[in-house]
């Protein structure tokens, strides 16, 4: 047994009383909890006959998050179809764009949740949606970082640019504030003016800073020189251009020149008369103490990290990141506050410990959507090869199976899960086989959809099971035609026999066939079972008889008995059917055929006689039977006479 990483949280189930003896059963996504009959010693309460369904994952029932599941399913399927044999160079942009698609779906979902949270009047709903928004925000933040570090795997130089974009995207409240300031009557006098300027500096948006500063400079003609100097510093800060011809070393030299220039300004006290400009200058210098003064504006340690890198180590290599991340977190958080789960997840990402990221996310989040999709994507990027689990197949498959099983418990999202199972090579099929049989089938339409899923995957056992359920239901509702159709589809011979039997009983009882449209159109499916064949052929006999094609009808009738297609119990009915044919004015059965009929009758009566003694059949019935046999014998004898005469006569 491995140790648990964190103590599992205790969830109280409301409505379950104290001192009750509970039993439970695990489901794929939830647990059933029930009270047992066991009575603990002491005062015993009454047993409540309730079963509680305890759901682990509430999100799956949120109508807005359903869109996330549906849209990401589409992206997931698209990802699986990317060809294995493409060179990895051409695959990388595809993976990055898929990662961006996933993120844009998260964003869209987040925006919708936010709108609903704002517009609702119900405080409880608002907080619930608010919580979901913050979870999605965190997910998107982590995903974006993983995209930069693992999927895009940017080299030194462009790495920082990507990280800067990452921070800018998730610290977007600056733009709100900036708009507010700029739309005010006198922006330079606005109380938040300097906050906005400094925030822009911290995010490295120096163009915006210069535009903002112009507004201040026009108001203070005396300090124009100082503002001009700052403007020059800002405009001269070099940025690495990954697409350009400049090498990283050249950039580094250029950057150092600029850095020295900033340093000189600090040494000269060029900005001593303006505390704001001095602060900016020190930030540009990359002074960690100054940055820590701006804690409120940075608001979190990873922003601090990126700003620190921007002004101190713009050519940071991926391998050096974890050092800076660790020291940033130490500097930024005081020793008393423990890092939150998000902090440790991000730190693990900076350390390039993918498995730790996935593990921590699995613990912190209440559903598998995020880890399953991220792991799948990383696996496609060939980043997870070395890792194997002690159980199941591999990490990717394990997480996908968990996620898909959760979907399958949902009354409506189960269809999505099928494609996830399809892309789990080792256990996906087994999972699907077990789950698909348990989908409740309310209508034939739904049954057909389930059947199509099974048939496409050659799951014959499940096809049989679904058809059998539908056939049984039709039978219970006395819909013999439907029941027969379903058992034919399942190629279920035993069941087809059972239903054919019912049809024949119906016929014996009522003298007419029901569901003629079906029986007349059996076609080759008639051969599924002997009894079905008999049913079809027997109906054919009636049809021939109805069309007055007596000779053919007679031949068919006889063959039904001689070829042993007809069950023995039905022979009497068949022989009775032969009566009107025997009574025709012209001989229809030939002499030979009549002998065969007589043989059949003989066999039948002898078997009846041996089996019958002592049976409690009423006298009346017995009489009827005897009369029938007598009649038949008479008719047979007459027909034989006619046939012999006819066959003996030479046609002239």
């Amino acid at each position: 047994m491995e140790e648990v990483d964190v103590e599992p949280a205790v969830t109280n189930i409301p409505a379950v009383g104290d001192k009750k003896h509970m039993g439970f059963a695990w489901g794929p996504g939830d647990i059933l909890v029930y009270e047992t009959l066991y009575q603990p010693p002491g005062p015993s309460g009454s047993v409540f006959p309730f079963i509680h369904e305890v759901r682990k994952d509430e999100d799956i029932y949120s109508p807005i998050l359903r869109k996330l599941f549906n849209e990401s399913h589409h992206i997931f399927v698209g990802l699986q179809t990317i060809k294995e044999d493409l060179p990895s160079k051409s695959k990388k942009p595809q993976f990055v764009s898929i990662s961006k698609n996933y993120r844009s779906v998260i964003r869209a979902c987040m925006e919708e949740l936010q709108q609903v949270a704002i517009s609702t009047n119900d405080a409880q709903v608002a907080t619930q949606y608010g919580n979901q928004v913050s979870i999605l925000l965190a997910i998107e933040l982590i995903w974006n970082l993983c995209e930069v570090l693992f999927i895009d795997a940017a080299p030194a130089g462009s790495l920082l640019l990507h990280l800067l974009d990452w921070v800018r995207l998730h610290k977007a409240d600056v733009y709100e504030k900036a708009r507010e300031v700029l739309h005010s009557e006198n922006p330079a006098e606005h109380p938040d003016y300097w906050d906005v300027v400094v925030s822009y500096v911290l995010q490295g948006k120096l163009e915006e800073v210069r535009q903002m500063l112009v507004k201040q400079a026009t108001q203070q003609p005396a300090a124009r020189g100082m503002y001009n100097l700052m403007d020059t510093l800002l405009s001269k800060m070099p940025y690495y251009n990954p697409g350009g011809t400049q090498t990283l070393t050249e950039f580094d030299v250029k950057w150092r020149h600029w850095h020295d220039e900033v340093d000189r300004c600090v040494q000269d006290n060029s900005f001593a008369s303006n505390q704001h400009l001095e602060l900016i200058c020190k930030i540009l210098l990359g002074s960690e103490d100054t940055l820590l003064q701006c804690k409120d504006l940075l608001s979190n340690w990873y922003h601090f990290l990126v700003t620190r890198l921007l002004f101190g180590h713009p050519t940071v290599k991926p391998t050096e990141l974890h050092y800076f991340a660790q020291s940033s977190i130490n500097m930024f958080l005081d020793s008393r506050t423990a890092p939150e789960p998000l902090d440790s997840i991000l730190l693990a990402a900076f350390e390039f410990d993918i498995h730790q990221v996935i593990k921590d996310c699995s613990i912190a989040l209440n559903n598998w959507w995020f880890v399953a999709h991220l792991t799948d994507l990383l696996d496609h990027c060939k980043l997870l090869q070395s890792h194997n689990l002690h159980f199941g197949s591999n990490l990717r498959e394990f997480l996908l199976l968990e996620y898909a099983s959760g979907l399958f418990t949902h009354h409506s999202l189960w269809q999505l899960a099928v494609d996830y199972f399809d892309h789990c090579p080792e256990f996906g099929r087994v999972y699907l086989e077990l789950q698909i049989e348990r989908v409740p089938l309310e209508t034939e339409r739904k049954a057909l959809k389930v059947l199509r899923i099974c048939e496409q995957r050659q799951m014959s056992e499940q096809v049989r099971s679904v058809c059998k359920i539908m056939a049984m239901r039709a039978l219970r509702n006395n819909r013999l035609g439907s029941a027969l159709s379903w058992s034919i589809r399942a190629k279920d011979a035993a069941f087809a026999t059972l239903i054919s039997e019912k049809f024949l009983q119906d016929y014996c009882a009522r003298g007419t066939f029901s569901d003629l449209d079906l029986i007349d159109n059996l076609g080759p499916s008639m051969l599924l079972s002997d009894r079905l064949t008999f049913l079809g052929k027997y109906r054919e006999f009636h049809k021939l008889y109805g069309e007055k094609r007596f000779t053919e009808a007679a031949k068919l009738l006889l063959s039904l008995m001689t070829a042993k297609i007809a069950p023995r119990s039905f022979w009497m009915t068949l022989l009775t059917d032969a009566l009107p044919l025997l009574e025709q004015k012209e001989a229809i059965f030939s002499a030979e055929q009549t002998y065969e009929l007589m043989f059949c009758l003989g066999e039948l009566t002898s078997s009846l006689n041996t089996a019958a003694p002592g049976t409690d059949r009423s006298m009346q019935e017995e009489d009827l039977e005897v009369t029938k046999v007598e009649l038949l014998r008479l008719a047979l004898a007459r027909n034989l006479a006619m046939a012999i005469v006819k066959e003996g006569t030479v046609d002239t």
Partner: protein, 372 residues
Amino acid sequence: MECINAKYVSQKISKTRWRPISYSSLQQPEIFATGSWDNEDNKISIWSVGTNGGSGLEDELEGDPQLLCEHKHDGDVLDLQFLDQDRIVTASSSGAVTIFRHHQNTQAMSISQHWARAHRYPCNNAPCTGVVCSSPEIVTVGEDGGIIVFRADHEGVIRVIENADSSTIHAVTYLRTTEILTVNSIGQLKLWDFRQQSNSPSQILSLSGDRVPLHCVDRHPNQQHIVATGGQDGMLCVWDVRQGNAPFSLMEAHSAEMWEVHFHPTNPDHLFTCSEDGSLLHWETSSHSDMPSFLQGGRNSSIISRSAMAPAGGNQSLISAWLSGDSSKGHLETTHMLPSQTLSVNSLDVLGQYLVCGTDGEAIFVNRQVPV
């Protein structure tokens, strides 16, 4: 594909229908209704794609369907038809048939008529699978194999044909005002003439031998004897009900169940089909082979079709393009209308240049530039 709008709606859509428009005014369709299935609470919803209707939010994309109103629906919506401008008839998996009224001034919906357990077994409900109406008459069919005729203004039932079919009837359409056509799960088409009192079909047509279940049927809008059906194997069949009892032509269309087939109501040389395999096809046949088709030109089109019969007697002057035979000579063009997707397209409806379809992927697609 730029004229296609997709919207995720958090419910699996089983039916989509445009609200009818009067052809005298050159109006574009604006309102459509959808029904959901397989949800804990199913709904029937009314949407608008109009530019002037709806809430008119600035950042909403133009043409993005806006929800106008919705109403709870008991059971899966298995079929849905507009009775007139503001009344909708639904067929439910609970066997009920319901008329909803859409109050356009207040954007609200209410139930105006409800026949509970219209389709039933002796001790169970039977899902009602299809409904067709020509106001005020409504005809429904069900898994119980029954056909029921209602009138919108009558509480009672006008006529019932019990056990009209030994298997499930999947769809129904009007052939003439007094004649309907049903398709069932053993591959038969049955014509019913309501002028006759007998409870048996006036004609049965079937696919020989195969017994492939048929799921949908539509009648040619101008030539009432031409009928298109789609079945479990995804084949499109065109029938001439006057001639023979076998289909006039069979065309391979989809790789799984075809859920709906629709002739274009005003331009019947165009036909649309959708399927469980997640595709939506646009079929175009042109009666003059030398006429250039707008569909030609490098689009993702696949032509797999064959004609099962030789062309019918050529002495008829007005012969539909669908019956003019030899489709292999390039008279028939098919185009995929949706970007690749894997989940079933359950329903489609086309009106003017507008097409709407709904999927099991919980998305509605609206195409506002159908090339017809």
